[in-house]
């Protein structure tokens, strides 16, 4: 069983990768990526049963993950690479011409680990619901995980899917919302208030959990609890509080680093705060 200390060491390297990838092409989304790094590492290195050595789109008898807020692709790509889905060196091609690591994730270039394109928001929960139902039809007991931004919940399709999951008793699915309270134009409460998310999802028929997404103890305990809640006729949700830009002091807690790349000086400052644990690509 991997320790929290080991998970945190992987997370430190993933955060270095994120700022370096975004800096290299002067574009991309570091804020949400840094905030969700602990979640990705926890999910892929501790909780999910995956098969990176024999990548199959259908993923029968393995856990599946769908990133609905596709713009945080840097954290997704770095995590997949370190988990063995494709060479870590390929991170250097992020957002460059002819890359498999497109600005937003896609199946189009056959990058192992990606099962649907995302970027246009609000679609991932529906896709995950369908994949979870396919698992049930196949008698496959593994789970389906998703991640969504809190701002993304402003898309109506999310609530269509939330209703569908409860109605069809899709209880082999754990959806997580990154509650960082930020979106492009400012704080979510200023741009478009989300209200009481726990009450909303409970009213839709979901089992709701909450955790600190930047604390490995809290995160791991919550995911374990959520896994224990599956198979009981209801879809399961995690409201995961994070700080956008977590790990880099000048990026933390503000929407300003949603989709902005650091300059050379800022990169140096960021890297000085993040230990190189597994070697830079």
């Amino acid at each position: 069983m991997i320790s929290n200390e080991e998970l945190s060491r992987i997370a430190s390297q993933v955060r270095r990768d994120i700022v370096r990838m975004v800096h290299a092409v002067n574009s991309g989304h570091p804020g949400g990526s840094l905030g969700c790094t602990d979640f990705f590492v926890s999910l892929y290195f501790k909780h999910m049963q995956v098969n990176p050595d024999n990548w199959q789109m259908d993923g029968v008898n393995e856990d599946l993950f769908f990133l609905s807020n596709g713009h945080i692709s840097p954290v997704f790509y770095s995590t997949l690479a370190h988990r063995g889905f494709f060479p870590v060196a390929e991170l250097a091609t992020f957002r460059k011409l002819n890359t498999r690591l497109q600005g937003h994730p896609t199946t189009h270039d056959n990058l192992p680990g990606i099962r649907v394109a995302s970027g246009s928001l609000g679609q991932g929960l529906s896709v995950a619901a369908g994949a979870a139902q396919a698992k049930k039809l196949n008698g496959d007991k593994r789970l389906v995980f998703t991640l969504h931004g809190d701002g993304e919940l402003q898309e109506g399709q999310i609530w269509e899917a939330a209703m569908y999951c409860a109605h069809h008793k899709i209880d082999n699915l754990i959806a997580t919302v990154d509650v960082n309270g930020q979106q492009i134009d400012g704080p979510t409460e200023v741009v478009m208030s989300l209200g009481n998310l726990r009450a909303k999802f409970e009213a839709f028929g979901w089992v709701v959990n909450e955790c600190d997404g930047n604390d490995m103890n809290s995160l791991n305990a919550c995911i374990e609890t959520a896994k224990g809640q599956t198979g009981n006729g209801k879809p399961v949700l995690i409201l995961m509080k994070t700080a956008m830009g977590k790990g880099v002091d000048f990026m933390e807690g503000t929407h300003k680093w949603h989709g902005v790349a650091p300059n050379d000086e800022q990169l140096a400052s960021a890297l000085a705060q993040l230990e190189e644990t597994l070697g830079d690509y």
Binding site: V60, S126, V127, A129
Partner: protein, 316 residues
């Protein structure tokens, strides 16, 4: 020629329902999703006999497209069912990202397309769907002409790996294609050999084109009549061969004349066999309430309009 062994008149959506039910029996990977229109889409038989593979989505078409995309992961072949308007315009981005760009094996099955939806009026009478779906890379677009062809097409698309848009309609129409036909995606049906003018028709307009061809032949104008049921990929060879022979081409569709069959045939003809052309279709207009027959007449989609177009080309 131009004589057919007729089956009882029926609606093309019933051809879809029969084909889907057949697939339920023969292909355990086929699933069906419906957005609160089971009766209209004739999905009752599939639902009754294969309830574990039928999914009611409610009035939430965007979610239906996403769920269908996800269900392919694990090996299933989902067929979605709702009206053509809600199958395309309402959910274009969901189809674009989660299905087409993601290369998912989803069959988007769309009824009540075009003016023949009738009295419900323009909100439901989509005339842009063929154009929208054809522009999506790797999307296959099929618009069968009668019950038998729709049933055969429904069965055939399950064996084609990749996203498909299958468009059909509401009213009972003449059922003249063979009962036991094999449907070949992308292969035109050459209905009648002729030398003077080419008529290329799809969907409900094929029977109108048959009637027009009979009248023209009776008047001594020789018609090369082609049914294009697969608008994408287009059978370019069949079009080029005919246009090279006649130099006069008419396209007929229950759709806008821009973006649909006419535009796509014109691209092929302009490049490979420059010909004079006429376009039978709706010209930059929404539809309205009325009976299907009244609407087809008002918007110029009847055999008489095809005959007139042929005569204009012959006078050139």
């Amino acid at each position: 020629m131009l004589e057919f062994e007729l089956s009882p008149a029926n609606d093309t959506r019933s051809g879809f329902g029969a084909g889907l039910h057949e697939l339920g029996k023969t292909n355990p990977k086929v699933t069906a999703l419906c957005a609160d229109l089971i009766g209209s889409l004739k999905m009752d038989a599939f639902k009754k006999d294969f309830p574990e593979r039928f999914f009611q989505v409610g009035i939430a078409e965007a979610n239906m497209m996403g769920v269908a995309a996800g269900m392919t992961i694990g090996g299933y072949i989902p067929f979605t069912g709702t009206f053509a308007n809600f199958s395309t315009g309402r959910v274009y981005d969901q189809i674009r990202q989660s299905i087409a760009y993601s290369g998912k094996n989803v069959k988007i099955c769309a009824s009540h397309a075009g003016l023949t939806l009738g009295e419900d009026g323009a909100t439901h009478q989509i005339l842009e769907d063929i154009g929208m779906m054809s522009m999506l890379p790797h999307m296959t677009v099929i618009n069968p002409c009668d019950y038998n062809q729709t049933k055969a097409a429904t069965i055939a698309i399950a064996d084609h790996h990749g996203p498909v848009y299958l468009r059909f309609g509401r009213p009972k129409v003449t059922n003249f294609t063979p009962v036991d036909q094999t449907f070949e995606i992308g292969k035109a049906w050459h209905i009648h050999e002729g030398n003077d003018v080419t008529i290329i028709a799809t969907g409900h307009l094929v029977w109108e084109a048959v009637e027009a061809a009979r009248e023209l032949e009776a008047e001594g104008i020789s018609v090369d009549l082609i049914n294009i049921h697969t608008i994408k990929p287009l059978d370019e060879e069949a079009i080029i061969r005919s246009a090279t022979k006649t130099g006069k081409v008419i396209t007929c569709e229950e759709h806008m004349i821009t973006g649909g069959l006419g535009s796509m045939v014109a691209q092929v003809v302009a490049k490979h066999a420059p010909s004079v052309m006429e376009f039978i279709g709706v010209n930059d207009s929404f539809g309205e309430s009325g009976t299907p027959d009244q609407l087809m007449e008002k918007y110029g989609l009847k055999a008489v309009n095809i005959v007139a177009a042929a005569k204009r080309l012959m006078e050139d």
